[in-house]
Amino acid sequence: MTIRNDIPITDDLIASHGLKPDEYQRILDLIGREPTFTELGIFSAMWNEHCSYKSSRKWLRTLPTSGPRVIQGPGENAGVVDIGDGQAVVFKMESHNHPSYIEPYQGAATGMGGILRDVFTMGARPIAAMNALRFGEPDHPKTRHLVSGVVAGVGGYGNSFGVPTVGGEVQFDARYNGNCLVNAFAAGLADTDAIFYSKASGVGLPVVYLGAKTGRDGVGGATMASAEFDESIEEKRPTVQVGDPFTEKCLLEACLELMASGAVIAIQDMGAAGLTCSAVEMGAKGDLGIRLDLDRVPVREQHMSAYEMMLSESQERMLMVLRPEQEEEAEAIFRKWGLDFAIVGETTDDLRFRVFHQGEEVANLPIKELGDEAPEYDRPWVEPKAPAPLGPVPQVDVADALLKLLGSPDLSSRRWVWEQYDTLIQGNSLQIPGGDAGVARVEGHETKALAFSSDVNPRYCEADAYEGGKQAVAECWRNLTATGALPLAATDNLNFGNPERPEIMGQLVHAIKGIGEACRALDFPIVSGNVSLYNETSGQGILPTPTIGGVGLIDDWSKMARIGFAAADEIVVLIGPKGAWGWHLGQSALLREVFGRSEGAPPPVDLAHEKRAGDYVRQLIRDGVATAAHDLSDGGLAVALAEMAMASGIGATVDTWGADEAAAFFGEDQGRYLVTVSRENFGKLHGDPALAVSQIGTTGGSSLKLGNARAISVEELKAAHEGWFPAYMGQ
């Protein structure tokens, strides 16, 4: 059975393609006639939220995206940043939220596949991956199943493909009960003179299809990814795509080999809305038309209609414009790797997107308008409500509270997760997950390395999207800095609820403003990103979750810092802002885990201070003065100290801090770092008059003693920290 192309276009059909009546009117105006069924599919794919960013584009434009090192900002498959010596780092983060909720293993796996393809499409060999995961509350009946499926899927794909996972995030909150988040990050290395783009050039050149065959996978998937879930979710099941990391690995090798041969003029991976998006993008960017002959598309199922082929989201496929004289050479490379290779069309000069199938012209559309004239909305938004003020917080037993936090779902060790990922492959991993940032050596360079971190605190964003957006950027920047890296640039993955609700739109607008301001202040441009909206089930939206993935450069990794105490009898130094600190407990982990409350404003971020403190700490690391470094984040000083102790097996004794120990040890004031220095080097802590640089204790022994609290052995800390995840997952 095949779907015919002359199906009448009814209102229902339009609506089921996610197109609003005014959007359909726009189509009629653009093409001056009723679209065919295939054309309707093409428009729905190009104009849905996922591909067109119609709700967010206006605001995304406000982000800083350039800088002296930025070679390519948003708009290509991935951002490209110069790291010197003729090399560049190519990276991006992308969500695969809805597919992962429906089928966690395959959803997460194909999410990894998609982001890796984005990176190697640009000519870069992937060298590091991260995954930022958010799940519903641990007790929710679906959560365990989602965690195990998603983690297995991320690992199943990334491990087989052969990229080390160097970091990520895992959090739980009831607000993700109906929508988990899977944000996958990948980075690759390329030579600056060998970066490939999607812009086609030259008329009459072959358009080549590469990789795996086309099936009916995910037909309508991009439309689904932009639709709010409701109870009819079951019906959406057959659109699940299955990943094949083996084919992707072959595709990587074949593409890099082909790129090295000089045969590639333009290349674009087939991601959401597959053949449609990739072909339109290549043509539109190059001011060229594209003509496709679907009879030549390698298919793995019989009787596929033009509509299905144009919308299929089968994985591990690419489209390329090739130098005709190197066609044979190209084909031989792909055959060697067991991949399909078919010339499916050509570039034209008529600026039309024309698609032929079984002798019939099934689509003939203006190519520029398909891409450029997508609707853009200035959706109404309202100022988010100010959070309720924080009521009094009782004192706590600092030792008990610390153990409770370390063993809580959000702060416990993620070892159960990252030991399922290959963190060592390629032999360049200098820091695997468990520290502030993952670090990978730049292969072929004696001293250089890249640091990677992924961060956001959705509870902060819920309470104040603007401060939360700033904080996500600042924390990421801080995590990179704490290894000694100079933060270079970032990618953002904006996960929000339904933007047609003004409160949600208000969160998005505020978060973007916060992110933009922080990125500007910290010289940390956004070079790529992804927006995932409609993360909402039965009217309940997720916590606003603008994940920031950052990349930093370490000039000499032999001087890099780690979080573990380096030795006993060293001085523990806390670096932060001068003057009275807020001892900020609003929205803190302490409040939530110990008192079950989530109140108050999140800690404000003073960006000028962040910059100053970060630059100071980085210099201490580079000068070899700091023997260990760690930033303070969730759980404040106590948790940070415990993490340093656990990472090294060395204890510490830290002075008491005034009367309010709860706030002193668990406050989440921003812009703070812990470093350790040897006694001899203590004098070298040159004073920066704008910073408070205080000796707060010493390392040594086998337990952690905080103020007046009872000492806790490092073993006990570790037992609490390492215990939760395996116990929760039943292992």
Binding site: I102, E103, Y105, Q106, A212, G215, R216, D217, R237, P238, V240, Q241, V242, G243, D244, F246, T247, R300, E301, S314, Q315, G338
Partner: protein
């Protein structure tokens, strides 16, 4: 004691990378005329008792809950 065999296969249209790789390997091994290969799983399960219908119902429940991923797989139960 009742013995049952559960067979779990991929739904039509769902990509089967394993099957595809096996097809390729068979033809590399000079087996000609092989069309498609689809891979699935079998579970041989022993359950206590002698009520075959109850056992079948139980095993179907196991399939729904654990043995099959009904998003992409079909299953079939035979009581031996």
């Amino acid at each position: 004691m009742i013995k049952a065999r559960v067979t779990v296969t991929l739904k039509n249209g769902v990509l089967d990378p394993q099957g595809k790789a096996i097809e390729g390997a068979l033809s590399a091994l000079d087996f000609s005329g092989v069309g498609s290969v689809r891979q699935g799983k079998v579970f041989d399960i022993e359950v206590e008792g002698s009520d075959r219908e109850a056992a079948e119902a139980d095993i179907k429940a196991m399939c729904e809950k654990l043995l099959a991923n009904t998003v992409i797989e079909n299953y079939q139960v035979e009581i031996g």
